[in-house]
């Protein structure tokens, strides 16, 4: 039977009335479980961050599920190892979205992984939270509809310790750098140097040392630094390499000759114990610190720290806080999207639309995601000190930098923004809080 003219006219009219509204607010059935993919390092040197990140995810998801899940839906995590490389990661990302039907991806620790995953998130139209990677390039080079970062980026993580150094030791004349020879080590030095040239143009760089990624011995570099006697030594290294550098430097009394600035050393403090002497500058890739001088909700911070310690027998380090932030943002975004959808489960577009301007709680602060997808996270920097209470260095003279002060504005390239800084910014640095 053919289609008559009457059928066609009726069909067109009916479809024209209903189809657009169907696309706009297609009802999505509330799932039995909320499947989320989490990419993290479970092998290789970066598993010192990846495994605590996974542990925190398991602990927090258990807590969320015990409380009824998100909108009454329990979370089911799927973990993917970033260790085998980007090709493997992209394959797993695609498999999780297309085969396992995960609704949200949390990716990744490595900046290289994030740079690769973000275009794929757009292609697959799957909300992706960049939960730990630092590269500032992602939202400065392109706008994304489905990708959001639930923490800061490399710019505030480098600028905050530079400002702290300029406040604490404004008269330093010489500086040396020892960073790992890979993207983060090189990029963080570029950011530091851009800021330093603007704020302290008379500082002289006496050595730029980039030992290979994965190096296990820094004796030669320590000798070189001992001979040079720079006023300041910067190292954005992390993991076993930072531990080894700190121990070898301590054994050979390099800490007595130079002031160290270590923006990621919070994650090494418990492991290196008393090897790290007092008086050196430590950062934590955010405002993560179990002795935070002014947390937004002290009970919340204590609960997180105590639960983590009880379950894993160590203090939580920064990736565990970043995981908290990602899951907290996810809960807040679902709540916002459902509220805007009459209490119904949101579709992908509705969920993605909830993130720009989203406010959510971290263990220490109230955070925001900007309109470009970048999270605004405070930065806590302090000076190492020793007490009888703990067998490792804690922090004194802590400054919590507001994110607006140290993050490049929307649409600005970080390096150019840092080069254009004036010394007025130092007047806006808050006073030490603890």
């Amino acid at each position: 039977m053919g289609i008559t003219r009457r059928d066609a006219v009726l069909g067109t009219a009916f479809g024209g009335l209903l189809l657009p509204s169907t696309l706009r607010a297609q009802p999505v059935q509330r799932p039995q479980e909320l499947r989320i993919g989490i990419t993290t390092f479970l092998s290789g040197p970066a598993s010192v961050f990846g495994v605590p990140g996974r542990q925190a995810a398991e602990m927090l998801i258990d807590e969320i599920n015990r409380g009824g899940g998100i909108g009454g839906v329990p979370i089911r995590p799927y973990f993917v190892d970033e260790g085998p490389g980007v090709e493997h990661l992209l394959g797993e990302f695609r498999r999780l979205v297309l085969n396992e039907r995960v609704e949200v991806m949390l990716a990744s620790i490595s900046s290289g992984s994030c740079l690769a995953c973000t275009p794929l998130a757009e292609e697959l139209r799957r909300v992706t939270l960049l939960w730990d990677c630092g590269t500032q390039r992602i939202f400065e080079e392109k706008r994304y509809q489905y990708a959001f970062r639930t923490q800061a980026n490399a710019t505030p993580e480098v600028l905050a310790p530079l400002l702290y150094l300029l406040k604490r030791k404004p008269d330093f004349r010489t500086i040396a750098v020892l960073n790992q020879d890979y993207a983060w080590g090189r990029d963080s030095w570029e950011l530091w140097r851009a800021g330093m040239q603007a704020l302290k143009p008379d500082a002289r760089v006496v050595a730029e040392l980039f030992p290979r990624f994965g190096a296990t011995d820094f004796s030669t570099e320590v000798t070189r630094l001992l001979a040079l006697r720079p006023d300041v030594i910067l190292s954005t290294s992390w993991g076993g390499e930072l531990d080894t550098f700190i121990r070898q430097a301590a054994e050979r009394r390099l800490f007595e000759r130079s002031t160290f600035v270590m923006p990621l050393a919070e994650s090494s403090l418990e492991r290196v114990g008393r090897s790290l002497p007092a008086g050196h500058i430590v950062g934590s890739r955010g405002d993560h610190w179990f002795q935070h001088p002014a947390p937004a909700d002290k009970a919340r911070l204590d609960r997180f720290v105590n639960n983590y310690r009880q379950r894993f027998n160590s203090y939580p380090i920064y990736p565990t806080y970043h995981m908290y932030q990602a899951l907290s943002a996810l809960q807040a975004a679902y709540a916002k999207a459902m509220a805007g959808n009459g209490g119904n489960w949101p579709n992908e577009q509705q969920l993605a639309a909830a993130f720009p301007g989203l406010e959510f709680d971290s263990p220490t602060a109230r955070m925001t995601i900007r309109e470009d997808g970048q999270g605004l996270e405070p930065q806590l920097i302090g000076t190492s000190r020793h007490t009888d209470a703990l067998p490792f260095a804690t922090l004194s003279d802590m400054i919590v930098f507001p994110p607006e002060l140290v993050t490049a504005p929307v649409g600005r390239n970080s390096v150019e923004w840092l080069r254009g800084l004036s010394r007025d910014i130092l007047d806006r640095v808050p006073a030490p809080a603890g």
């Binding site: 010192v48 011995d217 076993g240 160590s314």
Partner: protein, 311 residues
């Protein structure tokens, strides 16, 4: 040139001291790999795992025995004991259960099997020791530091890196050369290396020689890891970086050549430390630049000999 030395002579001296300690560790790991390849003709990728397990075991044993309270020689003894344990247990196990079955197979298959073993042992390390960096520096701390004059200044070095590591490397080198040239077991190893068929025909038990050699190689790899453990944090992946450098040493030295491994380790150790002082960007490239330069001039390696191929 003279002016350059006048300006940089002192720095060069420091670089040479640094290079010695670095060369000692490189030698200890690479010589085991070289010995195993020379006799068994198997390129053992799992050699890096034996290094890592030696390091983890030494740190674990040191912490468990509380060697911080022991005198220096005891802390050092714990490291050597750990290496001996790892080599003596894992060496025969791997040789008997795995390698013995693939001696007659293609090189590619041998590589795949030892690579698979490497991957499995990587996971075993994570299961046993976790992923957080492990460290125990009692041996290094107990030997203290030694101040080297530097113009009007001085540079503190650890006595462990300045004297103990190079000292042990020299002992191992001399001991190995003496063992291979002056003992019956050593001569049997040399005989099997030279011509397995002829050695078997005159009554040498080649299987036993293989077992002995592989176990010695495993002990040396573990010793390298154990001696590195007081100075470095041990992390997942340390075995992989070790094996890559060891291959460069073995290829440069000439496969199966012990003196070659020592000389190459010295060249790489010194080359890398000099690079850190004067051309830091080239430090990562030095081992491979040395390898390429040597192989261009002597394709069989520094001490390697041309082999006739039976058809």
């Amino acid at each position: 040139m003279g002016a350059w030395f006048a300006d940089n002579g002192l720095l060069l001296g420091l670089a040479l001291l640094d290079g010695l300690a670095s060369a000692a560790l490189i030698f200890l790991v690479a010589v085991g790999l070289n010995l195993v390849f020379g006799v068994l003709r198997v390129l053992n990728i799992a050699h890096g795992s034996l290094f890592a397990i030696g390091a983890y075991t030494a740190a674990g044993l040191g912490a468990a025995l509380g060697s911080g309270a022991l005198p220096a020689w005891a802390a050092l003894g714990v490291l050597i004991l750990a290496a001996a344990l790892v080599g003596a247990v894992l060496g025969p196990l791997i040789e008997r259960l795995l390698l013995r079955r693939i001696y007659a197979e293609e090189n590619v298959l041998q590589l795949l099997v030892t690579f698979a073993l490497f991957m499995m042992l990587e996971d075993v390390q994570k299961l046993v020791w976790g992923v957080q960096p492990v460290h125990h520096d009692a041996a290094m701390r107990l030997f203290g530091t030694f101040d080297v004059p530097f113009g009007s200044d001085f540079i503190p070095f650890t006595a462990y890196q300045l004297f103990v590591l190079p000292g042990i490397a020299v002992l191992v080198l001399v001991g190995l050369v003496w063992f291979l040239r002056s003992t019956l077991s050593g001569r049997m190893i040399v005989a099997v290396t030279t011509d397995r068929e002829a050695a078997t025909a005159i009554g040498i038990n080649a299987d036993r020689v293989y077992l002995l050699t592989f176990t010695a190689g495993a002990v040396l790899a573990a010793l390298g890891g154990a001696l590195a453990s007081p100075t470095a944090a041990i992390v997942p992946g340390v075995g992989a970086s070790t094996i890559v450098l060891s291959f460069a040493v073995v290829a440069t030295a000439g496969l199966g050549r012990i003196e070659g491994a020592a000389l190459t380790a010295l060249m790489i150790g010194l080359g890398r430390s000099v690079a850190v002082y004067f051309f830091p960007e080239a430090e990562v490239l030095i081992p491979y630049l040395i390898m390429v330069a040597v192989l261009l001039v002597k394709p069989q390696g520094l001490f390697g000999t041309l082999e006739t191929r039976r058809i």
